[in-house]
């Protein structure tokens, strides 16, 4: 049970971190937009991906902090723990609250852990069952989508090959897309596109850029993580941000690298979207792949039509305003630092410090007073 408890703790921490990090990201994006970096999409995408990696590796920050404490690199009694800080403020009288209620609020995570890992009432059982069913359901959806993608690629025709990158032609898809397996990377192009050489050039340049940005790998990772954090709305907002930024960054890079005319590029996007609407795919399930355009309307996630409009507007507006897309290392370091501090601050504090003992005594006294007044 100790192991399950530790895993659950890490799970809760990552969920909290997702919320904190996404809020931080929104602030950073607001600042970037106001500081003349509105169209630096590649920088924004790299920053967002970097924040996500920092969350995944957050247990290492805690490990490092604990090791630093053990080897005396951090002064004794120094704490970054948020609950310790709030408790100290409470005992100093910075805010007023019933001690019993405050103690319950501090133990909320313990209560949640007990109710979900050792459910006794029907509600606990139901929540635990829903969590497991949700995870399994979303994971199964990922597996089915993976098989569907494999079928689509399997039904396509080999065109040419560069190392591990396979270019294939398909009669069943009307939108070019990139995907990958463990060893092979695929770009699938609608066979009808062979007769439109300008569109073919644009589609290939776009999909190559997706591979350069490692968008396919991110898409697969996010789809898998979605099945674990399915109940956390932040994961959907996060994915939406990444989907928007990767397309905007990709369009911008393709135009910069390949000297393609903006009008021809926009025309190509519109043509592919029109073809897709004229021949809608039979499988409506979201495939773990990265397409040239998304034309479907989604309730959750990126609305394809709105994103297409945003892409075309952005291409027209940002033309001549291409900004430096060099990674802003100081901004990256700042974000990682803030996430590291947040990770350490939200750790569950299981030690009985002086302050915690005092709070427990006050809460017990309050309970006794209630009992006495009742008699």
């Amino acid at each position: 049970m100790i192991q399950a408890s530790s895993i659950f703790n890490a799970y809760i921490n990552i969920n909290i971190l997702l919320v904190i990090s996404f809020s931080l990201w929104l602030i950073v994006r607001f600042i970037l937009n106001r500081s003349g970096m509105k169209y630096a999409y590649s920088t924004q995408l790299r920053l967002l991906n970097c924040v996500f990696l920092a969350i995944l590796f957050s247990p290492l920050f805690v490990l490092g902090f604990n090791l630093a404490g053990q080897y005396g690199a951090i002064p004794a009694g120094f704490s970054l723990n948020l609950s310790d800080f709030v408790l100290a403020q409470y005992l100093n009288g910075s805010f007023e609250m019933q001690a019993v209620e405050f103690e319950q609020a501090l133990r909320l995570r313990d209560t949640l852990r007990l109710n979900l890992l050792q459910p006794t009432g029907w509600l606990g059982f139901m929540v635990a069952a829903l969590m497991i069913a949700g995870c399994l359901g979303f994971f199964l959806r990922c597996v089915v989508a993976g098989f569907q993608l494999r079928n689509i690629i399997g039904r396509s025709y080999p065109w040419c090959r560069f190392g591990t990158l396979h270019l294939r032609l398909s009669d069943t898809t009307s939108v070019p897309f990139s995907a990958r397996s463990l060893r092979k990377r695929y770009i699938v192009i609608p066979s009808a596109m062979l007769s439109r050489s300008e569109d073919l050039k644009i589609a290939l340049a776009h999909e190559f850029q997706h591979f350069r940005q490692r968008d396919v790998e991110w898409e697969i990772a996010l789809e898998l993580l979605k099945s674990v954090f399915f109940w956390n709305p932040v994961i959907y907002f996060w994915k939406r941000q990444i989907e928007q930024l990767r397309e905007l960054a990709c369009d911008q890079q393709v135009l910069q690298r390949n000297h393609i005319n903006v009008r021809a590029y926009c025309d190509c996007l519109l043509r592919v979207c029109r073809d897709s609407l004229a021949n809608p795919p039979r499988d409506r399930i979201a495939l773990p792949s990265v397409a040239l355009v998304q034309c479907e309307l989604k309730i959750i996630g990126v609305d394809g039509v709105r994103l297409l409009r945003q892409r075309i507007e952005s291409l027209c507006r940002s033309q001549g305003e291409m900004q430096s897309n060099r990674p802003k290392r100081w901004l990256m370091a700042l974000l990682i630092g803030l996430i590291a501090v947040s990770t350490i601050a939200i750790q569950d504090q299981s030690d009985w410090s002086q302050d915690r003992l005092m709070l427990s005594s006050i809460a017990n006294l309050e309970r006794l007073e209630v009992l006495n007044s009742g008699q």
């Binding site: 025709y157 032609l169 009669d171 009808a192 062979l194 007769s195």
Partner: protein, 130 residues
């Protein structure tokens, strides 16, 4: 190369097959030469389309020197019948008479064309009774 048999052609493939039916057989360059100059199709794209047609089993290729010569394996009439059958199944509730009725109702149909259809039907009925 693993063959993937398909029953129907895509728009571009149909364009290529029509040219091959006209030519009887031909290389990639022959097919490209038959196309309208405004089509501006790359040699590699044309070669890829013919290769896919071969994988689908619509054409067969033989090597003559360094050039591949493609020959249709399916007659135009056979593909027309196949396409009409599918059209009849999908759009005309598998009732060919509705298909013919729609065709005859077409105001663009000339008297001569209608006469031709009548002659074809009469010929077929005569053959069936004899």
């Amino acid at each position: 190369m693993k063959d993937k048999k398909a029953e129907f052609l895509t728009e571009v493939e149909l364009e290529f097959m029509s040219l091959l039916w006209q030519l009887g057989q031909g290389s990639v360059r022959d097919v490209l030469a038959k196309m309208a100059p405004a089509r501006n199709l790359a040699y590699t794209s044309a070669a890829t389309i013919l290769r896919i047609l071969e994988q689908k089993g619509f054409v067969a290729s033989t090597k003559q020197g360094k050039t591949f010569i493609y020959k249709p394996l399916l007659e135009k009439d056979a593909y027309q019948s196949r396409s009409l059958k599918k059209l009849s199944e999908n759009l005309f509730d598998n009732t060919p008479s509705i298909l013919v009725a729609r065709l005859v109702d077409d105001s663009d149909m000339t008297e001569y064309a209608l006469e031709e259809i009548r002659a074809l039907i009469e010929k077929r009925l005569k053959n069936d009774t004899s």
